[in-house]
Amino acid sequence: MPDANPSVPPTRALLTDENRCRLEGWLAEQAGASRATVTDDGWLGSGGFRPNLGVTLTLADGPMAGRHACVLRAETADRISASIGKRREFAALRAAHGAGVLVPEPLFLCDDPAILGPDFFLMRRIAGVGAGFAVVKGDAPMPDLARELGRQLGRLHRITAANPDLEVLAPPPDCPAQEVIRQCRDWIGDAAQRDPVLVWGLRWLHVHAPLPGAVVLCHRDFRTGNYLVQDGVLTAILDWECAGFSDPMEDVAWFCARSWRFRRSHREAGGIADRADFYAGYEETSGRRVDPQRVAYWETAAYVRWAAMAIQHGRLHSAGGEPSLELALTGRMLPDIEMDLLRHLRSAAARAVAPAERIG
């Protein structure tokens, strides 16, 4: 079985009169209904990336008879290496949903290229605001929201590789730190020949790598901008396309990295509240304590990994695929990310915390 079916260019219409009929037939069969109709409600979100198509699914009968507001997520051509593909994303989403994490209910996965071409899945559509700047906009911090996000992350981190639904994911790494270093080196590629900031980041990660600890299912892009909020209340955690097994502190650190504070730099937990609020929620449900020293390590990893992802976005643009100003501009964000990395390394050095146990 191939890793993924062909992807669609992100700017092309996903549904046509022809493939809509095939989609409806397939959905009717999956839902045990005599007839299904799908209406296109348009692309969701304001960004240039278009992974989410709003659709309304109407089933004539069967166990799910009725109208369902859904999101159709299909593989797109601007997929970067951190993305795991729709089949694995669906498995991670289902595992998270099964563990009681607040996510859109995953409904149907299709890997038959005869239906739409690319792999795709349907999940329920949830109301709420997702754009990072809109979420952090208010002057008042949102400690309750941060605490709830911590609780949700803690719940996710109770899932391990023992979950049989997750066999489709890459196996848990023996040493998550070394695995991230290897991935980042791979993604950065030739740029590591001429960018001393990234090379220093990679070297620092190698020298300070902690011994492996718990390895759990991580979201790996758990941040402001990837969850929905309505009236200050969390409604769903989205964008599971990077999920995989790793050190739980990787997700904690990614959430707190400056890159995702949307100019609310003083609110270190995702631009919405203090770290203490987020950490407290996490400790309520995860069954483990937040380890600040490990979080500091993984925050360095967050900047290096985000820089590697930005390089990949820029490369996708210059590789001759679909022209995309958004991809091109993401590639030009590298100095911003590197300044955050240096700022973090300076503060880590100032704290002068000597790790108790290291490898490398």
Partner: protein, 130 residues
């Protein structure tokens, strides 16, 4: 050959016109793309105007670590090639552990100066106060 107005004046005017005359009249779904265009025009204009200044600042930052001379007369492609060569040399030294012990403060100062120079083109608002 001299053209008037030159390329960076045209880019400045295009960006200002977009912000003043186009953006306020766009529907919300078009604003994001227009803001990206505005950002790209401004960045291209800064690059046309300031690439050599940025390159010289990077060269100055690299000299204390690489033991080379900073030639202030270098411009354009020659300057870029020189900066690339010094950065490549520094990358090798970092990757082989030359800064694992001593010299980290010096290295961090140089790296910060390099990123400041690049930020002056990519996103001047993000340059931290000295």
């Amino acid at each position: 050959m001299r053209t008037d107005p030159n390329a960076h004046t045209l880019l400045e005017l295009a960006a200002a016109t977009l912000r003043r005359d186009v953006l306020p009249h766009l529907p919300p779904e078009g604003r994001y793309a227009a803001l990206m265009v505005s950002n790209a025009l401004a960045m291209a204009e800064r690059e046309l105007r300031g690439l050599d200044d940025s390159g010289r600042a990077m060269l100055l930052a690299l000299v204390p670590l690489c033991g080379a001379d900073a030639d202030p007369s270098l411009t354009g492609e020659e300057l870029a090639t020189r900066v690339d060569a010094l950065q490549h040399r520094l990358c090798i030294e970092i990757a082989t552990g030359a800064f694992d012990g001593d010299g980290q403060d010096l290295l961090m100062d140089a790296l910060e100066a390099i990123v400041r120079a690049r930020l002056s083109i990519a996103n001047p608002r993000a340059v931290p106060a000295s």
